[in-house]
Symmetry: D2
Subunit: 390 residues, 4 copies
Amino acid sequence: MSNPSPVKLRFKNVRDRSEQLSQNLITEDFSIQPVDFVSPPKWHLAHVTWFWEQFVLLQFKPDYKVFSEDFAFLFNSYYNNLGKRVLRPIRGLMSRPSVAAVMEYRAYVDEQMEALFDSGVLTEQGYEIIETGINHEEQHQELFLYDIKYILGHQPGFPAYGRGFEPAPVTEPQKFHKFESGLYDFGYQGSGFCFDNELMCHKMYLNDFEIAHNPVTNGEFLEFMNDGGYENFNFWHDEGWHWINNNQIKAPHYWHKVDGAWHYYDLDGFKVVESELPVNHVSFYEAFAFAEWKGMRLPTEFEWELACGKLHYGSVWEWTNSAYLPYPGFQKAPGALGEYNGKFMVNQMVMRGSSAVTPPGHSRPTYRNFFHPNMRWQYAGFRLAKPQTL
Amino acid sequence: MSNPSPVKLRFKNVRDRSEQLSQNLITEDFSIQPVDFVSPPKWHLAHVTWFWEQFVLLQFKPDYKVFSEDFAFLFNSYYNNLGKRVLRPIRGLMSRPSVAAVMEYRAYVDEQMEALFDSGVLTEQGYEIIETGINHEEQHQELFLYDIKYILGHQPGFPAYGRGFEPAPVTEPQKFHKFESGLYDFGYQGSGFCFDNELMCHKMYLNDFEIAHNPVTNGEFLEFMNDGGYENFNFWHDEGWHWINNNQIKAPHYWHKVDGAWHYYDLDGFKVVESELPVNHVSFYEAFAFAEWKGMRLPTEFEWELACGKLHYGSVWEWTNSAYLPYPGFQKAPGALGEYNGKFMVNQMVMRGSSAVTPPGHSRPTYRNFFHPNMRWQYAGFRLAKPQTL
Amino acid sequence: MSNPSPVKLRFKNVRDRSEQLSQNLITEDFSIQPVDFVSPPKWHLAHVTWFWEQFVLLQFKPDYKVFSEDFAFLFNSYYNNLGKRVLRPIRGLMSRPSVAAVMEYRAYVDEQMEALFDSGVLTEQGYEIIETGINHEEQHQELFLYDIKYILGHQPGFPAYGRGFEPAPVTEPQKFHKFESGLYDFGYQGSGFCFDNELMCHKMYLNDFEIAHNPVTNGEFLEFMNDGGYENFNFWHDEGWHWINNNQIKAPHYWHKVDGAWHYYDLDGFKVVESELPVNHVSFYEAFAFAEWKGMRLPTEFEWELACGKLHYGSVWEWTNSAYLPYPGFQKAPGALGEYNGKFMVNQMVMRGSSAVTPPGHSRPTYRNFFHPNMRWQYAGFRLAKPQTL
Amino acid sequence: MSNPSPVKLRFKNVRDRSEQLSQNLITEDFSIQPVDFVSPPKWHLAHVTWFWEQFVLLQFKPDYKVFSEDFAFLFNSYYNNLGKRVLRPIRGLMSRPSVAAVMEYRAYVDEQMEALFDSGVLTEQGYEIIETGINHEEQHQELFLYDIKYILGHQPGFPAYGRGFEPAPVTEPQKFHKFESGLYDFGYQGSGFCFDNELMCHKMYLNDFEIAHNPVTNGEFLEFMNDGGYENFNFWHDEGWHWINNNQIKAPHYWHKVDGAWHYYDLDGFKVVESELPVNHVSFYEAFAFAEWKGMRLPTEFEWELACGKLHYGSVWEWTNSAYLPYPGFQKAPGALGEYNGKFMVNQMVMRGSSAVTPPGHSRPTYRNFFHPNMRWQYAGFRLAKPQTL
């Protein structure tokens, strides 16, 4: 069982951090939804608050009175079990409630949560849901930064958000770590928090493989681009080839050629592409094509998990060649919390690692992130493995 | 030639009114673009200001320095002659510049305009363009209110904007005014300002006709609805029939059935539909279908113009059965101002009259407004004419 | 009243001609629908037959037994009054009934019609509907050729259909005919057949104008193209500009640049563009843009009608700057035949004249053809008028 | 090395069978493409012939002269390495070449192949490619039947194709086979032909599981439907839920409710749904939802492969919960043949087994078929496994 006091402290910290992340924005930024997969910053701030209200306060605090009936409707995300919800593509049309009202909502819920912590009525199950809630708010903090980057990075003028979220250069020499074939255990085995998709711990047989110490860098990716990588269908999945052609993709997202030199937008502004940085904002299709061009391949999520202790950890999530599927023994939670992960287990690819915008302490070696193969507004890079034949 | 002083005063008044109209909004409202034909309120405020800068200050004020090079790019609407412009459907993604920055832009331009007025260097041609600018800002004030209504009227909660913009009830008894066939003059003949599309004054031969004294009311439109008007293709244009079916149109825009009773959203809030009000927010297709159902027809724009002195003026623009085409002698202005009207003369229908949200003094009997036949976010009603056979 | 014998003969002739037009096709050609506005040739052959069955045989022949209940459903076009119909975009999916079955259907109906003619029971009203049916089948013969041209002209290999349908070169010298302002009569005044949209004959006042003797030729249109006509927005309607850019239009339909020279597909095969031919397969937008570039304008349908006796008749229909609207006194027929024209009187432009694929004797000076302004698979050219100001 | 004589015989047999499958069609059926994923029957007949020409005759027959340069362009499918190809969605617009011309093409290539067989110049590599070609033509025979079913099954009248392709009823009693956890070998280990995606043979560790003896039947699927299975989002992937709602899916493909009773179209005509038949034409999403409703799950492709020797083989392909990914050691062939499988290994799910329309002898226990999860025009059913937790 979790120890109550640190949980209360961690609750307070995660809530404070969401508000710190909001400091660099102006009121107008909070309600914009430039594309359907990006949510307005205001919505994130309210939705995580709604989670505390729905799954903790309404369940565990006697006589809890919701801040507003309307908010329950407006800030649900995809929990179908909890009633009608605002469709994703129209979130960006809600100028109301105001940012100020959302901040009042946050303050009210924080106060109520503090009272709940102090009341001593929280059960072990309550603390477990609070753990989930903390992790949930951390996930939204990362999405909040993806979405802010998208909102500011698609405005004329490329306004900067702030410093402290830039990927770090790759400085260690490249090499490949070798692993022997054999039967290994995968999935979470600890006693702390993990998501349901990391369970059950189970055996997998892996063949011999080698995996790169460093992720692929901008400099290496530029070689691929300069060698016509985006023009040669032999490197691409059939879907990937259609995707780059239909969308006229010729470089990672946020890259722009200005006066003959590649530049990119990062949260601290618009800059020249630096070779030593890990390549970022590429889709699975692009990662796969690069690996084909290199005569290598992407690692599976299991190779990655086995090797990760020895790797130079990048500051971008890393595409694997594993589809996002349930582990043997996967069990979804009952009720609305069961909608968290399981229902997304089709047509998505697993990413491993963490990124420069992942909240401190949020990731683990067994952590399974997942995105559709064409998505690249998230912090998304990759590393290589071999032999080419898996 | 216009007399300088009243023009300066009218300039000041129109500028002040734009800012008064903004008082009822919160900062978050200013940047929303719910559909491509609606512009964010912030954009209207900046675009009309850009007009003064481009067409007056840069032309007539020696050594004028633009407020910001970026704004010239951002707040152009469709004047292709003046360089690249932000595409309509992405205006709503611009959280920057802030509302405050736009207000600074307005203040700067107002100050510069005042200095220009006082400098005495303005030529007659300058005053003519200023007249156009005043009328341009008035047009955007009306669009501003259409767009605010759309933004607030599509939010959960239907927040009110404010009072003073509601259509007035039809209180006079209905009757039909008769006119004799003959050759009449149409188009603007006065010495004041008019738009290029109101010229030249020209002759048209009209057959005998009768035209209704009052516009069609909500009560009459409800009869059409209750009689299955939306379900009988015989009343509809082929395109109209597809349009209502593809979009599942069953009532005027902003109408919602709540607990069995029709309600609607107006700028002062959400209310029960009142029978005496002129029907508002209907498309040309719906107006035409109603007339077919009634065994009558819509008037042409010429019938309307001839009759208008005797009519109960509604508080909604009125669809006519005239396509928006150039008058004999139509001459578009040279350069960017020539893009004002002529290039829209295809696939649109003429509306006549004015509305509850038209700025005071902005309309005239010869004024030609125009919209695509499926548009209905504007204040749009209609009146009947006969015989059915035109 | 029509004289029975020639009508019977004309009936036979029009039916025979439909079948002659089918001789040049192979079975595979009859069921293709490459785009939604093109109908499969098989469908035309059956639909015109259905018309005879529905509007003549079932109305006037005692105890008439339909060929097949299914065909009544399958080959209705847009007559909503006569029950559910096969949607236009799926006509091309019907491999069944076979072409042979459709030909049996034709033979059956022809035989029944002959018996009806010979029975002497036909009333004057019956003969009038037969006149409409003959004109209806003639209209579909022209559409049949547009559609065959589209089907064959979009296949790899550009197979020829046959000779005898090519526009004729413009050989007379160009000049402009002058007309004085005044009040004139327009619309059909004769005692023979006309469509409802040509009525009533009514007065219009026209200003002075001049109209070109010849239609615009390929050679002249190439000058426009070579002068950057498709790249300069000043010549285009706003909608036209979007249309050419969204669809990457850079030349008339069926034109292809091969080895630096413009070629085009015509029903007799793939050929080099000849300067002396009237330009064909251009949209209203392109016709308008050419006129703007030339500093002239398109004539109105009334100017065209007044002048047509003096003009070199082209072999392409000619765009006018008139929207397709009802004439004063327009009266649609009761029932399904009333769906013929009136319900299309929105968003279309009038074309006047006739074309190289119009059945002999089908057109008249008062004939009003109509198409959406972006359509150009029909035989579509234009001539110029002036002064530029209408 | 393969023994030449049987290969020649098998070549002849597979070619003959393609033509036998064409006997039941009329000429009009061969060129229809109702949706983009369906190819016209004519295209299949020509494309498999093109394969023999490109990969065998041009490679191995000295001085081979292609039947037609145009056909090489027209009947390539997705082999980007072999030049420009006709895009899938426009295959259905090609009325030319005629069916007769395609049959001549087939006869010419057959004759040339026979001469090649008899010439004795074929190398072992040549025989290997011929094996691939035979399997390729067999795959297209199955697709040919899917596509014919789609073409005829979406026509008014539901014309029958013929008998002999109906799934067989499930007659054995249902039970679950138990398997112990352990390390097993998967993938093809024989010496005959297999596709590259069945290699390499590799080890996988499986947990204890049970798998159903029979596939799910129509009767069982009706229980799911009657229990509101299509209305309860808890059973569905998030994507599946959107898919059924956007497409208004309420039953398997080809099912229609007539007079209150479920009917379906099969190649032998339109019939009442029979409870004992395996459910067919369901998507992966529907199979998954059914399993969730039942409290069980779909097997993985490895569970299926391990168990298949004991199972009642259905007459429909069976969805597994395995994504289509490369096996360890997967090696794609060099050149155009390498485009066969590898480039599709993203966003598709593995199906195992075979169907009532699979050519005799075409399948194997290690055979991996694959489709996007929303596809269901193929013969697609499924069986259950447990425990629910994988």
